[in-house]
């Protein structure tokens, strides 16, 4: 069976440094940080008192949620995902009406949804007041609450689901939607992911002592992927959304095409060979990247830019080494590489989708956004690749092929190959 070509025709984003595609693109080029000090984290005795939280205005809420939908709405991930998903829909010039669209589905993932709503519910239940939870407790806290919300808002009649694979969730969501369209089971898929913000999501990571505690007075400097003094990942939140569409459908509708999805791969390291619940099995990472390249039917030499997972931990050097092995390229021959986490921290389940949006903007507009906070590149990384391949300033550069990977707890991996669209 001939697989269908799949293109990206719409995008939406709610990130800590910018909300909306056009503002986000400007923030990327400027290397604008979205990391701030949060007093509630200090009051709660967090070691790491900084994080990335998108600033959603009441005006934006009113555009995306009815007054009734806003009643008792505490699930921040649902707010971010609801806004990003609807922005992508409008960006792709899809209609918002009462009709059922049987050819469009939703794969919108999350790690956990509505923790603040859960907290409210737990308090009421413990006070023997379960009867007063109200009607939206379930809708805001079921993992699929975000895909259910978007599916209903937009009238999607194809598969509507939420995937969950820790920090690879967003990249996995794109690949699930991609394959569904490739195989002719849907014409369009809204894919993406979201993550709640705040202490109840981030606490477990603070307890693991993997967040930086040295930058509470200097939050914008804290996220240092690939840096010699990287001190851990900065917790973040938000949502990214993309409309995937068969090339035929996009051409029929005559809409703008941002980029083409050439292929990808998803696997797991099985928590063997050095892999664990929290660390990746490098053999599986290399295998995931290699099979993505094979699936995309390209040669590794064609890759111009890598959007890494690169969280700002000791694993960054291992990730770089894995890329050099998978591509058979190193030193000055290595592609350019960047990490959005230097700007906005690690948005956990939302990371993959927000980073995919940033990658598509680079392909579409021809630039490479800077790695900020990376004055001193880690020596183990410099042993593998040339410093010029890690841009510290925004570069104007036409990019044809971009590789994006995400890795998550549970030793899970996802890699996507994108192409700037050629007719």
């Amino acid at each position: 069976m001939n697989k269908k070509r799949v293109v990206i025709t719409g995008m939406g984003v709610v990130a800590p440094n910018a909300i909306g595609i056009s503002k986000f693109e400007k923030a990327l080029q400027a290397g604008k940080s979205g990391i701030q000090f949060h007093n509630d984290l200090k009051e709660l005795n967090f070691s790491c008192q900084i994080g990335g939280i998108p600033e959603v205005s009441q005006e934006l809420l009113d555009l995306n949620f009815t007054a009734l939908e806003q009643k008792g709405l505490l699930a921040t991930g649902l707010i971010y995902g609801g806004i990003a998903g609807q922005e992508a829909w409008e960006d792709a010039k899809l209609a918002k009406n009462d009709k059922l669209d049987i050819d469009t589905g939703v794969v919108f993932g999350t790690g956990i949804l509505g923790v603040d709503k859960l907290r409210e519910a737990f308090h009421k239940i413990d006070d023997k007041n379960v009867r007063r939870l109200g009607s939206t407790s379930v809708l805001q806290t079921m993992a699929s609450g975000i895909s259910a919300f978007l599916g209903g808002k937009l009238g999607c009649g194809n598969q509507v689901t939420s995937n969950s694979s820790a920090c690879s969730t967003g990249t996995e969501a794109l690949l699930i939607g991609f394959e569904r369209i490739q195989h002719g089971k849907a014409k369009r898929m809204l894919v993406g992911s979201c993550s709640d913000s705040g202490p109840y999501v981030w606490g477990g990571f603070d307890a693991l002592r993997i967040l930086p505690y040295q930058y509470n007075d200097n939050p914008e400097m804290a996220s240092k992927p690939m840096s010699a003094d990287a001190a851990g990942f900065v917790p973040s939140s938000g949502a990214g959304a993309l409309i995937l569409e068969s090339l035929e459908s996009a051409q029929e509708r005559g809409v703008k095409i941002y980029a083409e999805v050439l292929g990808g791969h998803i696997n797991s390291g099985g928590q063997r060979q050095g892999g664990s619940m929290t660390a990746p099995n490098s053999t599986a990472v290399v295998d995931c990247i290699s099979k993505a390249i094979l699936d995309a039917q390209i040669h590794p030499n064609q890759i111009d830019l890598i959007n890494g997972h690169l969280t700002a931990t000791a694993m960054d050097a291992t990730e770089i080494e894995n890329w050099t092995i998978a591509l058979g390229r190193s030193g000055k021959d290595f592609p350019y590489i960047n990490s959005l986490k230097s700007h906005i921290g690690h948005a956990l389940a939302a990371a993959g989708s927000i980073e995919l949006v940033s990658s598509v903007l680079e392909l579409n507009s021809g630039f490479i956004y800077p790695n900020i906070n990376c004055e001193h590149i880690h020596p183990h990384i410099l042993n593998k690749i040339d410093a010029t391949k890690i841009p510290r300033r925004s570069m104007d550069k036409n990019i044809n092929i971009l590789a994006k990977a995400s890795f998550g707890f549970g030793d899970v991996n996802a890699c996507v190959i994108l192409n700037s669209y050629h007719k």
Binding site: A67, L68, K71, R132, G134, S135
Partner: protein, 82 residues
């Protein structure tokens, strides 16, 4: 409290949940929450919670089941207030 006074306050309470605005404008004792006002059935529990808060009363499951239209709801509230 008179039935009319309760009905007026109930009208304000149900407003955010209503999907049929014309029938809402013409709200009467006979108005059915689901059939006439097109309130989503899941939101009926929210109406009950808002009634509890507004009138400072507690409504048990048996009474709650009756509260599907304006008349029955006003009666339940009157009974609780007396």
């Amino acid at each position: 409290m008179t039935s009319e006074a309760i009905q007026a306050r109930l009208k304000t309470i149900v407003q955010p949940y209503v999907n049929h605005h014309e029938n809402f404008e013409n709200l009467s004792l006979e108005s059915d929450f689901i059939a006439d006002l097109e309130i989503n059935s899941a939101n009926l529990v929210d109406v009950v919670l808002d009634v509890e808060d507004e009138f400072d009363i507690r409504i048990e499951n048996e009474d709650m089941e009756k509260m599907t239209n304006v008349k029955a709801t006003v009666e339940v509230i009157q009974k609780k207030l007396s």
